[in-house]
């Protein structure tokens, strides 16, 4: 039961990252690569009908996490208190940047909201990457100092935003260190490319060509960052091959991740626009999948030897709650699929000004 729910939860989170990920990418492109109003409009049009629905994957995943792994929810959300609240604030600025920009037609109104959309997308991608980096690295569960836990609840922990050394090897590493920052930048670049492929899929004209040209330099930077983070990861932790050895098929995950990564470069000029988007999607899904599998069944590793790591087994709800939850979840999910197909069918293909939001 715990495994089923863990798979569902990971599925929802990965859906969130794939879907809202291209919105973040679009925001970053809007910030750096659009020169005129026409290009800005093209970016907005490509995400306009979808972003709100995409964001709901996160909210729904949060709810499901709360219901099925309450201890994990309580632990992570209170432990990463400040960064999480800041993410919430950024969400507000992003939403208003998308929805309110066109409501008043005056430069003094439009400019700041456009910036607000771009900057908050950039920071959100960075923060989510950093958060992911923190979870891989682990935290000081129980707030152990000199061998004594400071909190009554063993799931509780406190992470400062940073500690002076910015090193993941510090005794009490902060949220931001050079390892988590690298992962954050990996997220920013992957999502920028992912967003670019989405926009290429949804618009036409010169802007498509322009974006296609940007992909090569972005990809090379990403390559460098990925190599750094893999080296750091290996230096920091011993690879947990438990699940891999039990089910050798899981070795396919990193292999497919690599293929997706190559596809992101190879298909950049292809006329079949969906190929690039499919590659970046594969890269994201399988990349996260590999990381999750290499930690399984741990969800938040403990960096001290006193409190044991949080796993899917010691954080889950009671069996009955998990069972009834599954019943309504399946029904709700079937409905979500219906809505999703309906919306994407109405807005299928290239979007033109007939689909504009004003």
């Amino acid at each position: 039961m715990e495994i089923t729910w863990y798979v569902i939860l990971c599925f929802m989170l990965v859906m969130y990252i794939v879907l809202d990920g291209f919105d973040f990418g679009a925001g970053i492109i809007h910030l750096f690569f659009t020169k005129n109003d026409k290009e800005k409009k093209q970016v907005m049009r490509a995400i306009g009908p979808f972003w709100d629905g995409n964001e709901v994957w996160l909210i729904a995943a949060g709810g499901v996490l709360f219901a099925t792994f309450p201890t994990l929810y309580a632990s992570a959300f209170s432990g990463f208190y400040l960064p999480l609240i800041m993410i919430l604030w950024l969400f507000i600025f992003r939403a208003l940047g998308i929805e309110f920009t066109h409501l008043i037609n005056h430069e003094l109104w439009i400019k700041p909201w456009q910036r607000s959309f771009g900057l908050s997308s950039l920071l959100l991608a960075l923060f989510f990457g950093i958060a992911f980096g923190n979870i891989i690295r682990g935290v000081n569960l129980g707030g152990v100092e000199n061998g004594i836990a400071q909190f009554n609840n063993s799931y509780a922990f406190f992470t400062p935003l940073w500690d002076g050394s910015f090193s993941p090897f510090a005794e009490r590493p902060g949220v931001i260190d050079w390892f988590t920052i690298t992962i954050g930048l990996v997220a920013v670049l992957s999502l920028t490319i992912h967003g670019a492929y989405w926009i290429i899929l949804k618009t036409e004209g010169d802007f498509v060509k322009k974006l296609q040209k940007k992909i090569l330099p972005l990809w090379i930077t990403l390559l460098v960052l990925v190599i750094i983070s893999i080296i750091a990861f290996v230096a920091m932790k011993s690879f947990n091959s438990e699940l891999f050895n039990q089910h050798p098929a899981i070795y396919l995950l990193p292999v497919i991740t690599f293929l997706g990564f190559l596809g992101m470069l190879v298909f950049r000029k292809s006329n079949k626009h969906w190929l690039g988007f499919a590659s970046s999607t594969t890269f994201i899904i399988c990349g996260i999948g590999s990381a999750v599998a290499s930690m399984f069944p741990i969800v938040i590793p403990s960096t001290n030897s006193i409190i044991e790591s949080l796993t899917i087994y010691n954080t889950a709800s009671e069996a009955y709650a998990l069972e009834v939850g599954l019943v309504w979840w399946v029904i709700a999910f079937a409905l979500v699929l219906v809505y999703f197909t309906f919306v994407h069918k109405i807005y299928k293909g290239k979007l033109t000004n007939k689909h504009d939001h004003h």
Binding site: G63, F66, P70, A321
Partner: protein, 445 residues
């Protein structure tokens, strides 16, 4: 710890009060818009469609505010109330997760289509999207009230050896006797807010002599939905909810009514200030026997007073609770009066010449918001010192690892950010009302 608890509570109270300013309007507007679209489909009168479009703009702004302020709510259980979440997630998490899966997906999928897709969809499908948004937003209210009702009157649970609450009967979450009275009361209260908002815009257009056709439609809509909802909010729903309080939280009822000592044939208090030191009400005006009758349907029934209960179970803020309750009920009575008068003027076709009354409607807008907020404060202050009534104390629910300084910082951040948002949103709503619904389409038809 003390300070952390205080700031945590203030932050929760502030953010939830602010959040609920928006859904109370959007839930009602969603219904009215669906009704307008329905009328348009049946009668083909363009004014219904244009009215729906106009309100959809106001809806969209409020909806956006509801979404951005709702997300912090969903996360705050984990960030600030970690111990509470850990121990009750089994149960509270169920209904909250259902809200995400069943209603937020529904609303967000169709909102864009509804707002911008009229041409692509055609009228029938467009009506459908409006209807689905109505269903989604009411489902949201339904599930959140189910969650809340469990906190007021816990059912279907067992407490495990490690102190956790485990769900053992899912359907009891929805057959909780507290739940349906609370849900219908809350939805009716949301219709009250919506009716007053629509009436106010109608009155404004008549007063400034613009958009007169729309003004008449708005006033008619608002007065019909207003008379129904203002009455229903009091009887049967408010009354039924009060009976739940009397049954499950008698000490809360005593505090709400400012009743210190048990009384046979207890009076209902219209005015009076609780004096906690002397344990009595100052300057009171009361109607004898009414409270006994309302609660037990017998004029001489005995109602227990605060002194019949151990002091540690008393609500922690009795004057706050007492005033909240009396503000809600007092305003509710005034609303009924205003709406009866409005029906009378509408009936005699005098609405347009009774300009003083239009002014009343114009300026009545803030009061349903105040009544709604006061109602929620009644619920929440009445439940204190517990988070889960009788079982789990608020002070045991706070996150251990979040310091007072951090919470104060984020509380101030939320206050600043929300003030800014409120300002932006007033500009946008003002601009929409100033521009008004389309006259051109109406003329060309």
């Amino acid at each position: 710890m003390e300070d952390a608890l205080l700031y945590g509570r203030l932050q929760f109270a502030f953010t939830i009060t602010y959040h609920y300013l928006f859904p109370q309007l959007t839930m009602g507007l969603a219904l009215i818009i669906a009704v307008y679209k329905g009328f348009y489909l049946r009668t083909d009168k363009i004014i219904f469609n244009e009215a729906a479009k106009f309100w959809a703009k106001i809806f969209a702004i409020n909806f956006g505010m509801g979404v951005v302020t709702g997300i912090p709510m969903e996360f705050q259980f984990g960030t600030n109330w970690a111990q509470f979440s850990e121990r009750t997630g089994n149960i509270i998490g169920q209904t909250l997760a259902m809200e995400g899966m069943f209603s937020f997906f529904l609303e967000s999928s169709f909102l864009g289509l509804f707002l911008f897709g009229e041409k692509i969809l055609g009228q029938k499908l467009h009506f459908l999207t409006a209807f689905l948004i109505f269903i989604g937003s009411w489902a949201s209210g339904y599930l959140i009230i189910a969650t809340h009702s469990w906190m007021q009157n816990p059912v279907g649970y067992e407490i495990l050896a490690n102190g956790k609450f485990a769900l053992n009967n899912f359907s009891e979450l929805f057959s909780n006797p507290w739940f349906l009275p609370s849900f219908f009361h809350n939805q009716m209260a949301s219709m009250v807010t919506t009716s007053f908002v629509i009436a106010s815009v109608g009155a404004f257009y008549l007063l400034v002599n613009k958009h007169k056709e729309y003004a008449h439609l708005f006033l008619k809509t608002a007065i019909i939905s207003g008379i129904i909802s203002t009455v229903f909010v009091a009887v049967p729903t408010g009354d039924l909810l009060a009976k739940q309080v009397a049954k499950n939280q008698p000490v809360t009822l005593a505090a709400m009514e400012g009743l210190f000592n048990a009384e046979k044939g207890a009076p209902i208090v219209l005015i009076g200030q609780p004096n906690m030191k002397e344990q009595r009400l100052d300057n009171k005006i009361e109607v004898p026997n009414v409270l006994s009758f309302l609660t037990y349907e017998r004029w001489d029934a005995e109602i227990k007073g605060l002194n019949d209960f151990p002091e540690e179970t008393w609500p922690t803020n009795i004057p706050g609770l007492y005033y909240s309750y009396h503000i809600m009920v007092g305003l509710g009575t005034i609303f009924i009066g205003i709406m009866f008068l409005a029906v009378w003027f509408l009936w005699r076709k005098k609405l347009e010449i009774r300009r003083w009354f239009l002014w009343v409607l114009l300026f009545a807008v803030p009061f349903p918001y105040i009544a709604n907020t006061a109602g929620w404060y009644t619920s929440e202050l009445g439940r204190q010192p517990y988070l889960v009534y009788g079982l789990f104390k608020t002070s045991d629910g706070i996150s251990e690892s979040v310091s007072a300084g951090n919470t104060l910082f984020t509380l101030l951040g939320f206050v600043g950010l929300y003030l800014f948002l409120g300002f932006i949103m007033l500009i946008l709503v003002g601009k929409t009302i100033h521009k008004g619904p389309s006259e051109i389409t109406l003329k060309n038809n």
